[in-house]
């Protein structure tokens, strides 16, 4: 199987997975009592009306009295035409809410991801190259510090130092500055720093330990005998094989951090990103928005895993397309 066929197969598989998740979501929703119907019934009861009739009216209004397969097709059409409904907790369409959140999330997660992917392996390989020296210990200490300290706490501390005491960054996130501007870079610097320290630790450790294996590999001696400089040897011959196991770590880690960490950091720094959109939707029991966010994260996760699979095969030619 060639690479092109492989990619096609993976993409199709990703589509199938997302479709299965979408379907499961529908079944869960169909099985759960609809809060709107309950609300209508409660209200009717409070006002002395007939709760059953009110519930029936509410069901009718929302098309819930249709047969299951009709509702399912309707639901599928809505999902895939991006007709995700109205987000009551924000008074805007769900897709707009998610797009707005993504717009702000992307502004810090793109530099965050790039820095993590670039710096993590670099520092890790550097650490391995100088294993057990003070440089290694410093890098290791930094990795564990970033890994151990809670992001939101670290964020608040840095915000106090740089925002309040030194007053070099704004405390209130300003959405009105252009994306590509110095002001935006300044206000995003601390959140990105906090996130990078949080995520880089694991990447550094994995790459340090993986590359420790490769830097003593026979092909490193070959490279040396060829007259390859140490820098080039590390950059090409150690880094590349290290990236193979690392790509799994990175994608998994970033996806996990995407929701958890980013929410706390968004809260601390007041960035109106996807994490806060989702969290507030949950708090406000905004069913449409929660569903939309779930779907969005499903697609992101499926896409992330797809990328991981593809990167994996590109990085490690030994992995056969047929086996995975």
């Amino acid at each position: 199987m060639g690479f092109g066929t492989y990619v096609t197969a993976r993409v199709m598989w990703a589509a199938v997975v997302s479709f299965i998740i979408v379907t499961i979501t529908f079944l869960l929703l169909a099985a759960a009592p609809n809060p709107d119907v309950q609300r209508a019934a409660t209200q009717a009861a409070l006002q002395g009306g007939d709760p059953a009739a009110a519930a029936e009216r509410a069901r009718e209004l929302r098309g819930l009295n249709e047969p299951l397969h009709v509702r399912y097709l309707d639901y599928l059409r809505s999902v895939y035409t991006l007709d995700w409904g109205w987000a009551d907790s924000r008074s805007q369409p769900v897709t707009t809410a998610l797009a707005e959140g993504l717009y702000y999330t992307a502004q810090y997660s793109v530099p965050w991801t790039i820095l993590t992917i670039l710096l993590g392996p670099l520092v890790g390989v550097y650490s391995a190259a100088n294993m057990y020296s003070w440089k290694d210990h410093l890098a290791t200490g930094f990795a564990f510090f970033g890994y151990a300290i809670p992001n939101f706490f670290f964020g608040i501390i840095l915000l106090l130092i740089f925002g309040v005491w030194l007053d070099v960054i704004p405390v209130v996130y300003d959405t009105s500055v252009p994306v590509f501007s110095v002001a935006n870079a300044v206000q995003l610097s601390i959140p990105v720093f906090v996130l990078v320290t949080g995520s880089i630790g694991a990447v550094m450790r994995v790459s340090r330990n993986e590359s420790a294996e490769f830097q003593h590999a026979a092909f490193m001696k070959t490279a040396k005998a060829k007259g390859v400089s140490p820098l080039r040897a590390y950059a090409y011959h150690v880094m590349r094989p290290t990236l193979v196991p690392l790509s799994t770590t990175i994608v998994g880690q970033l996806l996990a951090l995407f929701l958890g960490s980013s929410l706390l950091v968004e809260k601390v720094f007041g960035i109106p990103g996807l994490g806060r959109v989702t969290y507030n939707a949950l708090i406000a029991q905004d069913t449409n928005l929660v569903l939309g966010a779930t779907l969005a994260f499903t697609f992101i996760a499926v896409f992330g895993n797809l990328i991981e699979d593809l990167v994996f095969t590109v990085l490690d030619p030994r992995i056969s397309y047929d086996d995975r």
Partner: protein, 355 residues
């Protein structure tokens, strides 16, 4: 670039030590030998006698040594005293290496072509296309079929013999003056071993380069070597032309080794005993403990200085001192080994494919 007057490679007093937790390990202890342009010198000895460390010390690619001392003169320049970047310019360009195990010697993440080309492009500013065609030529020359498609294959898609041919191509792409081949056939199937050795010999002639071949297979030595250096426990026991050494082995150790050759007769099953502890080498001759002719004098002082037994033939054994009678060594009554019969045994079926 080589001075006709001086040898291509002259190693003198080369000493390589490692710092271990148990103390200082002297892996190579003051060895001396030369390689002339265009000739094949074989470095023989048991496993652990320091052959590999000795060859890797020449261009200092040995892994984290405690120290590498002595003098390694290559074309008149001292490789040990020059800076690392200067040495780097020589590695893979003037002195190339081929290693024992081709399975791990290639990086699994890159195509073989990429890795061959890298060996050239780190030294010469060659355009990608030129480098590619040169590499394909060379891959073809080392006997790999479909060189142009194989160029884009990954190492895991190749057999062991093919990989070793790739390693040889990689070594040759810089047109080196000296090729150091460290047991290049050990890891390979017997049928392939001979092909590789024949290839090396052909290439030596074609590229007019010196080869320093590390082996513990005296059959190989007999087949390809011009001269032989016998090492034992980090010391050179005997060196000389292949005829001298095979016909008139001087050192008891060499004789022991030759006795081990199957079909040559003598005591099959090897020399009794084991290598001395490299962390705590014995006084006197390193081989004394296993030597049938050892005397008390063999067990004191340093390893005996080399003594010329024939022109160009040296041995490190006190029995050759002028005041000694070397004939005691003949007591065993063994016959000197015959000719370089190994050469006749080399298969003649060419080197086109391995599998």
């Amino acid at each position: 670039m080589t001075d006709d007057a001086s040898p291509l490679l002259a190693v003198e007093g080369l000493t390589t030590t490692f710092d271990t937790d148990d103390g200082q390990l002297v892996a190579v202890d003051g060895i001396e030998f030369t390689v002339e342009a265009g000739e094949t010198v074989c470095l023989v000895g048991e496993s652990g006698s320091g052959k590999t460390v000795a060859t890797e010390s020449i261009t200092r690619i040995v892994d984290s040594p405690g120290s590498v001392e002595g003098s390694v003169r290559f074309g008149g320049r001292d490789l040990l005293s020059m800076s690392e970047p200067e040495r780097r310019a020589i590695r893979g360009y003037e002195i190339a290496h081929v290693f024992q195990n081709p399975q791990d010697a290639l990086n699994h993440c890159y195509t073989v072509g990429w890795q061959v080309v890298e060996a050239l492009q780190v030294h010469e500013d060659v355009a990608d296309e030129t480098a590619r065609s040169r590499a394909i030529d060379l891959l073809d020359r080392v006997g790999l079929a479909n060189a142009s498609t194989l160029f884009d294959d990954y190492p895991h898609e190749l057999s062991g013999g093919q990989k070793q041919r790739v390693m040889i191509a990689m070594a040759l792409i810089g047109d080196p003056d000296l090729l150091i081949a460290d047991e290049p056939t050990t890891a390979l199937d017997v049928t392939v071993q001979a092909q590789i050795l024949r290839l090396l010999d052909d290439l030596r002639r074609e590229f007019d380069m010196g080869i320093l071949l590390v082996t513990h297979d005296l059959g190989v030595v007999a087949a390809v070597a011009d001269r032989v250096v016998v090492m034992y426990a980090g010391k050179v026991m005997e060196r000389g032309s292949v005829l001298d050494v095979f016909e008139r082995p001087a050192h008891p150790y060499t004789r022991g080794l030759l006795d081990c050759l199957p079909g040559v007769g003598g005591t099959e099953g090897g020399i009794p005993g084991t290598l001395p502890d490299p962390l705590d080498p014995p006084d006197g001759c390193r081989f004394a403990a296993r030597c049938a002719y050892a005397e008390d004098a063999c067990r004191t002082g340093e390893q005996p200085a080399e003594i010329k037994t024939d022109p160009g033939h040296h041995a490190s054994c006190i029995h050759y001192r002028p005041d000694r009678d070397e004939s005691v060594l003949e007591d065993a009554g063994r016959e000197p080994t015959g000719s370089d019969r190994g050469a006749d045994e080399l298969p003649n079926d060419g080197v086109s494919t391995d599998d």
